[in-house]
């Protein structure tokens, strides 16, 4: 369970997150949606301490990760993250990318790590590409490698920050399919997304953010059929009619 209490975060002088409270149950899939600049990425990045909140706390299964004395690396090991720009290691091939964390963080033997890496790459449909360099892959393939890299660490939480926003439309599906496959596998999944179809069909709850606040928290059925706020109605109109 992830429990976020009274979380606030500012950059220089502008307050980006205002007093956020949110509880996410273990095994849930959550979609965070909202207009650009509303603080979605910042909230997500607070959860693995890529951003350090100014106020409030985040607890993961009774461990307060925002406590300055906690070991950030131990916490991050348990949280996989997938970025909009893939962020694959350009000097490593596909398999090396996937097993890097196993070798360096989990100190696993290379043979064992490679076995795991190959299986994961087969699972995301890239068994043929284990020796390719990231530069020679399409965007969709890169993102699937990035997902395999996150899964390799066997995290219990997965964070996705707009995983399909940098992709050509024809590649969005292959990545979403891999993500859908992760639902109901025990992972707690938090996705910042503009894919309304995914948010509607896969997530257990929708977090709708506006100007650094959670404007709505609802099930997809509630949110998409009868949004409570004017902002949500406007947002949905824009997203669904484009």
């Amino acid at each position: 369970m992830i429990k976020i209490n009274n979380l606030s975060k500012s950059f220089s002088h502008s307050k980006v997150l205002h007093d956020i409270n949110l509880t996410i149950d273990t095994g849930e899939t959550i979609s965070i949606i909202g207009p650009s600049g509303s603080g979605k990425s910042t909230l997500l990045r607070c959860m693995n301490l890529l951003e350090i909140p100014d106020e409030g706390s985040i607890n993961i299964d009774d461990v307060e990760i925002t406590d300055p004395n906690t070991d950030m690396r131990l916490i991050r090991e348990n949280i996989g993250m997938v970025f909009q720009q893939f962020n694959l290691f350009e000097n490593k091939n596909v398999l090396e990318n996937v097993i890097y964390g196993l070798l360096k963080v989990k100190k696993m033997e290379k043979v064992e790590a490679e076995e795991i890496g190959k299986n994961l790459l087969i699972r995301v449909g890239l068994g043929e590409k284990i020796n390719s360099m990231p530069q020679n892959l399409s965007g969709g393939q890169k993102q699937r490698v990035a997902i395999a890299r996150a899964l390799a660490m066997e995290p219990s939480i997965l964070l996705f920050d707009e995983p399909t926003s940098a992709l050509d439309p024809e590649m969005v599906k292959e990545v979403l399919d891999v993500m859908k496959d992760l639902d109901h596998k025990g992972y707690t999944i938090i996705v910042v997304t503009h894919e309304m179809g995914f948010a509607k069909n896969v997530s257990d709850h929708i977090v709708f953010m506006v100007e650094g606040k959670i404007a709505e928290y609802a099930t997809p059925e509630e949110f998409f059929s009868s949004p409570k706020t004017e902002r949500a109605r406007e947002f949905l109109d824009k997203m669904l009619n484009k």
Binding site: L50, R76, F86, N87, F89, Y100, K104, N136, R149
Partner: protein, 248 residues
């Protein structure tokens, strides 16, 4: 024979013919000198080994030290940043010949050390300053997203530096680093002032002994040119080898 190999052959032939012409031309120019002083010619050419040793060793140690300095330039600790920047300023802001003299007469003044070691120390310290700037730019250009991805997995800062940042920085900085090696080959000629018998020193001796200037200087010039050319060709080769676009 297909078109490609034919083109390749023509290219190779052109190069060979050009080389033969150059050799013939130089032979004609230097023939008389060689007949009179065969040993001098050989000595000048052999002296290039010191130039090579000094440049390569200095580039190597300069790269190690320069990388460390570059990492300190982005350190969280202000004192380390200040020291690293001051070091660079100091060595880039003073003439090499002065640095060499200070290291020879002052630093090593009281000890009886091998002159080669003095020369290598001096040029390593000097090139470290330049290389640290090259590496700093390279490190800054490594995509922040990759560093973040590694952090997000719980990788230690030190591992991120050695596995992700430095290898990519080296690849991006290879052209300017090769350039630095070429500079070292040329600039190391000042070691003749402390008496290391490198290319320039031996050439100087020959001109003094024979009262001939043109031929010895021409030979030295050819040696320097060939060394620098080999360096740049090797650089190109390594660059292609290191490029990630090729599948390993």
């Amino acid at each position: 024979m297909n078109k490609e190999s034919k083109n390749g052959l023509i290219k190779a032939l052109k190069i060979i013919i050009t080389l033969i012409l150059i050799v013939l031309f130089l032979y004609f120019l230097l023939y008389k000198f060689y007949v009179r002083y065969p040993n001098h010619v050989i000595n000048i050419i052999l002296a290039a080994r010191y130039t090579i040793i000094i440049s390569i060793a200095s580039a190597f140690f300069g790269l190690l030290l320069g990388t460390i300095i570059a990492l300190n330039k982005s350190s969280k600790i202000k004192l380390l940043r200040t020291i690293a920047n001051f070091y660079t300023d100091l060595f880039r802001g003073t003439p090499v010949i002065l640095q060499l003299s200070i290291i020879y007469f002052v630093v090593f003044g009281a000890f009886d050390v091998n002159l080669l070691i003095v020369a290598i120390t001096s040029f390593s310290l000097n090139s470290a300053a330049y290389i640290s700037e090259i590496m700093r730019a390279g490190i800054q250009n490594v995509d922040k997203g990759q560093i973040e991805a590694a952090k997000a997995m719980g990788v230690r800062e030190r591992d991120i530096a050695t596995d992700i940042v430095i290898p990519q920085a080296i690849r991006k900085t290879l052209p300017p680093l090769i350039n630095e090696l070429a500079t070292l080959i040329k600039e190391s000629s000042v070691v003749y002032i402390i008496g290391v018998s490198d290319l320039m020193y031996v050439t100087d001796r020959v001109t003094a002994g024979t009262f001939l200037y043109f031929e010895p200087l021409l030979i030295a010039g050819i040696c320097y040119y060939v060394l620098v050319k080999i360096t740049t060709i090797l650089g190109k080769y390594v660059e292609v080898k290191l490029s990630y676009d090729k599948n390993k």
